[in-house]
């Protein structure tokens, strides 16, 4: 008779097992207040720029907050676009924090006056995050636009001077800034901010720039080692669990929480499974429906489906599946890969293989609120046969302006 296996207790359900089947309310809820933005970052995940006329009104925003309070949502992550360009921004933040909901908001710094910095520092329910994608103006502004680096530094200076401690510096890792990780840390330390490094996803305008901006495989290894060395000191928003096959998991949940732990409320009230997946495929409903946000969170068909046990598909047999979990759903979707297969940046190369074999058409992001500039803002050329959007700068000068090249004498 073999020794009974019942000598040892069965393994307890892990935390992430519980999370995978959904929660009563989201934990990491992202709420984009507006598609309006003063900048036009080339990788913007929400393709923001112009305000959408169907934007939620102040009263509608307050109704959402009331509901979140009833659902006992602990905090909201507010962003956009640039949330501070809404004239009711502070009214909304005040309403949230006086209704038991913490606010963490992200900004490019444009409206952070010294006065607002003082106000923010004084409200213990508010945390703030400044976006920056280069440790120098040269690298940063190439992505975020002229003057954006200075805007961010000025905001950091004012917040630091006001004694703001709940401050983060948030960076999207790209091919052009991986060499600046130490410098980012120095900037964060200088202003008493916590550094946050996150992953570039092929979402929104990021779909155009992804192939040129995403870190190389070599850079990913460099980034991974750097993150390991800095441990819990540097935050990642669980961005890099797809790198765990390089040598073990980084701090964090190591889990795609879409529709289970996280979701997005967009400026017109649409609820998506994830802020990186603004596409009809991941649209669960709208808060303007009869049952509000709560009904969408609890009962939408999409979220119910996401909360069912996932098979893991092709990745299940990989030794690293346990920590990698097949990577990022949004990254797979927007590169045209199947959701039950490898991440496009799979460190074992399975994603690259899948992309090379793939004949699937790449989905285009649902909305484009980008500024309509004249001449058209240059966009990265997509090397595919799809012709869904303008794919490059004007071929001839007169494509941009009928008067181009004319000598007026």
């Amino acid at each position: 008779m073999s020794t009974t296996v019942l000598d040892r207790p069965a393994p307890a359900p892990r935390l992430i097992d519980h999370f995978e089947s959904g929660l009563n309310s989201p934990i990491c809820l992202t709420w984009e207040l507006t598609y309006a933005c003063n900048l036009s970052c080339i990788h913007c995940l929400s393709a923001s720029g112009r305000r959408d006329p169907r934007e939620l009104s102040t009263d509608e925003c307050k109704a959402v907050i009331d509901e979140l309070q009833r659902m006992q949502v602990f905090y909201v992550n507010i962003g956009g676009g640039e949330p501070t360009v809404r004239s009711d921004f502070w009214e909304i933040v005040d309403y949230a924090t006086s209704h038991d909901i913490g606010v963490k908001f992200s900004t490019n710094g444009v409206r952070i006056t010294s006065e607002l910095a003082e106000k923010l520092a004084a409200n213990d329910y508010v945390d703030i995050q400044i976006s920056m994608d280069g440790a120098t103006a040269e690298v940063n502004d190439a992505i975020r636009g002229p003057g954006s680096f200075d805007l961010a530094i000025r905001a950091l200076e004012r917040l630091s001077a006001a004694g703001m401690t709940r401050l983060k510096l948030s960076v999207v890792c790209t091919r052009t800034n991986i060499g600046q990780l130490d410098q980012f840390k120095e900037i964060a330390d200088l202003y008493g901010a916590q550094l946050r490094l996150t992953r570039l996803r092929p979402a929104g305008r990021g779909a155009d720039s992804w192939h040129d901006l995403k870190p190389t495989q070599e850079q990913q290894r460099e980034l991974y080692q750097w993150l390991l060395a800095h441990g819990e000191e540097v935050l990642t928003g669980d961005s890099f669990f797809h790198l765990s096959a390089l040598g073990g998991s980084l701090p964090g949940l190591n889990l795609c929480g879409a529709g289970r732990v996280v979701c997005l409320i967009d400026p017109v009230g649409d609820v998506y499974a994830c802020p990186f997946a603004i596409h009809e495929e991941f649209l669960a409903g709208n808060i303007r429906g009869e049952g509000g946000f709560g009904e969408v969170w609890r009962e939408s068909e999409l979220f119910t489906r996401l909360r069912a046990p996932q098979t893991g598909g092709a990745c299940k047999s990989c030794a690293f599946f346990d920590t990698c979990r097949g990577g990022c759903m949004a990254a797979k979707f927007f590169t045209g890969l199947p959701l039950d297969g490898p991440d496009p940046e799979c460190v074992r190369g399975f994603g690259e293989d899948a992309l090379a074999d793939s004949t699937a058409e790449r989905p285009k992001p649902s909305g484009d609120h980008s500024h309509l500039t004249s001449p058209p803002r240059p966009r990265a050329v997509r090397l595919t046969l799809e012709m869904q959007r303008p794919t490059g700068p004007p071929v001839a000068a007169c494509d941009a302006s009928p008067l181009a090249g004319m000598q007026m004498n």
Binding site: A12, H18, L23, N24, I27, F74, G102
Partner: protein, 91 residues
Amino acid sequence: MTDITPESVLRLHDRVSVRPEPFGALLYHFGTRRLSFLKSPSLLAVVDALGEDRTVADALSIADVPDAQRPAMIRAITTLRDSEMLVEVAA
């Protein structure tokens, strides 16, 4: 810090929000911004039963915790005290 015993009296920190979940509960501390996961409905019942005038022993009884589980519960309460989710009340 002192050891937590059955005679200890603790209450929930007033900046902590407790949200029941199917598997137990989530606790969020608005000051520390920490999130704790209670993986047992029994533990949630114990936390709910704690208060100004109740000892740990009282709370364990109210929550019907079997004797065999009491040591683990006390360890859990200690963890929650250490992360400031629970606060000791002076005798």
